[in-house]
Amino acid sequence: MKPVRVVEGRAVPLERSDVDTDQIIPSDWLKRVERTGFGRGLFSEWRDDPDFALNRPDYVGASVLIAGPRFGIGSSREHAVWALMDYGFEAVVAPSFGDIFVNNSSKQGLVIVVLTVSDVDELTELIKVDSSRLVVVDVDRQVVEVPEAGFQRRFEIDPMTRERLLNGWDDISLTLLREPAIEAFEATEEAPDLEGIFDDAGHVR
């Protein structure tokens, strides 16, 4: 994963709550075996509506998405994160998120920013008044800013996710460094495995 220190760009307010991952990327798109090209499917069931935020010319090219409470609930599909990033989003700001979505985002370098409902509302209004305003999400300093409007809020991020974002570390390499501990654990692990239960064709022996 690429290191992420600061996300800087224009923002688009979605102004919807409970946006689930089926809405972010409908299941029709999940048949693909590739990891790229999902941007075209982002919010695809809403994209026919000319009034939908992403269709407005002044929001084209935005890199920060602002959403309502409980963004990314539902299905575990990481395709939702791939779609947001492939479309060009690098950070999502909302009052709360689905747990699995947050995990998936951290693996791909999509920055998750939790602000209070009133702060998200204030940020939304600032962008609606002037969509050209620059939004800055600083992972290092843990602040989100609209410099031109004097808006600055601190956000929380767990220290490990912050380190991984800043350094672009991928989890598997980090875990493989702990191989001796995994081996020691496996030597004492009691849970049964599937050895001997199924034959080569998958039938119960």
């Binding site: 919807r16 709550s17 409970d18 689930d20 089926d22 809405q23 409908p26 299941s27 029709d28 999940l30 048949k31 693909r32 075996v33 590739e34 990891r35 069931e45 309502g68 409470p69 409980r70 609930i73 539902g74 299905s75 575990s76 599909r77 990481e78 395709h79 994160v81 709360s96 689905g98 747990d99 699995i100 995990n103 998936n104 693996k107 791909q108 409902v117 767990d158 220290p159 490990m160 989890d171 598997i172 980090l174 875990t175 493989l176 702990r178 501990a181 995994i182 654990f185 496996e186 692990e189 849970a191 049964p192 495995d193 599937l194 050895e195 239960i197 199924f198 998958g202 039938h203 119960v204």
Partner: protein, 467 residues
């Protein structure tokens, strides 16, 4: 004396390899894999020259994408076909047992784990699917993960995890007759809201949970994620042990008894403290449906469609307006008067043999209403064979229901079983999100009993209404 621990803490402690910083490296006992969330993970393993660390702790099945037409019919969608082939190729390459379409053990991943007995108490179980919470019914810590985490588990058999908080949801007393596990699940999701369980592992407790069969407990745990909780748990008891006793993957004879003794330790200690405690009165739970576009929007079968005016919170009000518009519903409409186009009985929530028995008993000697398409999709080939042995397939077919091959089917509309725009469906599945069952489709979540009765009446109905 050691401190009292919750069931969740016991499983967590037993699987914590080491805890550096804020995250714990957790050992994963069982990794379930399906075709949709795995191909990119396998591809990445190949690109990085990595293998699967413990193929014997990994089990794969085709489910999300498979057509439910007769097995002899080829998969017509080339993109789906490619994904199903990729699962078989990947499993062969990495030495993983796989049940492809039509295999005697194939079925929905959360149905086959328990029925084969590979889901066992005290285990950590993950799968690239949010309804992995289902397996928590066995006192196993089971949760859904994304594709990067799938790759991580394939490569290392571990996951770095932040420890969740614990929540007890206690159902005091017994439910009234005619109230199903699905009604309990809907009541809990409605009570907690779609985000109420976020950051928590829920343990379901109380008489109404104890009195459920294992299949009923699976239905309740299945919908934990609909309340925002990644995992749901039920403590091990006699029902757990008896369900597992004759399953193919559990030890036999004396070894089973000694294993069962160990399983019985997977309960919360009497004095264990939870981070959050919710208490609900079971007698208040009634047969219900969802009316909106998130699973917390629940109304009694005897009720009417709610009005935005009932909500004070502006966010809830606008969500209600939006949901009503999408669902094509008018506030004040009696639920039982709403006509249906489709009835779907299936999914990892309600496609097991007990679900099919309930539905078939109502279908027997009756007929699906004119203009209604009713599908029954068993959760697995094992469920399908059992149902056919009992003659349930005849009950359904004679009543005008379709009797189809196993898979996830219309729960998420990845295969050809989809709703058309504005088609209204009573579905025993778990999500009523916009477009979930097909673009523009309108989903109402219901129990198998309500689904079957509604198919016959052509509108929402309960079994008591059937002549």
């Amino acid at each position: 004396m050691p401190a009292a621990r919750t069931l969740f803490e016991k499983i967590w402690d037993e699987h914590a390899i080491e805890a550096p910083g804020a995250q714990t490296l957790l050992y994963i006992d069982l990794h379930l894999v399906h075709e949709v969330t795995s191909p990119q993970a396998f591809e990445s393993l190949r690109l990085n020259g990595r293998g699967v660390r413990r193929p014997e702790r990994t089990l794969a099945t085709a489910d999300h994408n498979v057509p439910t037409d007769p097995i002899s019919t080829p998969v017509s969608d080339p993109v789906s076909r490619r994904q199903l082939e990729a699962l078989e190729e990947n499993c062969q390459e990495f030495g993983i047992t796989v049940f492809p379409r039509g295999h005697e053990n194939q079925g929905i991943v959360h149905v086959i784990g328990p029925e084969l007995g590979v889901t066992q108490p005290g285990m950590t179980i993950v799968c690239g699917d949010s309804h992995t919470s289902t397996h928590g019914a066995f006192g196993a810590l089971a949760f859904g993960i994304g594709t990067s985490e799938v790759e991580h588990v394939l490569a290392t058999q571990t996951l770095p995890q932040q420890k969740a908080k614990s929540m007890a949801v206690t159902l005091e007393g017994s439910v009234r007759p005619g109230v199903s596990a699905k009604d309990i699940a809907l009541a809990i999701v409605s009570h907690l809201g779609t985000g109420g369980g976020a950051g928590h592992v829920i343990e379901y407790r109380g008489a109404a949970i104890r009195e459920l069969t294992m299949e009923g407990r699976m239905t309740v745990c299945n919908m934990s994620i609909e309340a925002g909780a990644r995992a749901g748990l039920v403590a091990v008891d006699d029902s757990t042990i008896e369900y597992l006793r004759s399953r193919p993957s559990v030890p036999k004879g004396d070894e089973f008894e000694s294993t069962a003794k160990r399983w019985r330790t997977f309960v919360s200690d009497d004095d264990a403290a939870f981070d959050a405690e919710i208490v609900m009165r079971s007698e208040d739970i009634v047969p219900s449906i969802t009316w909106g576009t998130n699973p917390a929007q629940v109304v009694s079968l005897d009720g009417v469609i709610p009005s935005p005016d009932e909500f004070v919170d502006p966010d809830a009000r606008s969500t209600t307006e939006r949901s009503l518009a999408y669902m094509g519903l008018t506030p004040g409409t009696p639920v039982r008067s709403i006509p249906l186009d489709v009835v779907f009985i299936g999914s990892c929530t309600n496609s097991r043999i007990e679900d099919l028995r309930v539905a078939a008993s109502l279908a027997r000697g009756r007929h699906v209403a004119d203009g209604v398409r009713a599908l029954v999709v068993p959760g697995s080939h094992r469920v399908k064979r059992q149902a056919e042995t009992e003659g349930l397939d005849r009950d359904f077919l004679d009543a005008g229901f379709e009797w189809r091959e196993p898979g996830c089917s219309m729960c998420l509309g990845m295969n050809p079983d989809q709703l058309g725009p504005e088609m209204r469906c009573a579905s025993t599945s778990n999500r009523n999100f916009e477009g979930r069952q097909g673009r523009g489709g309108r989903t109402h979540l219901v129990s198998p009993a309500v689904a079957a009765a509604s198919a016959i009446m052509g509108r929402f109905a309960s079994p008591e209404e059937l002549a």
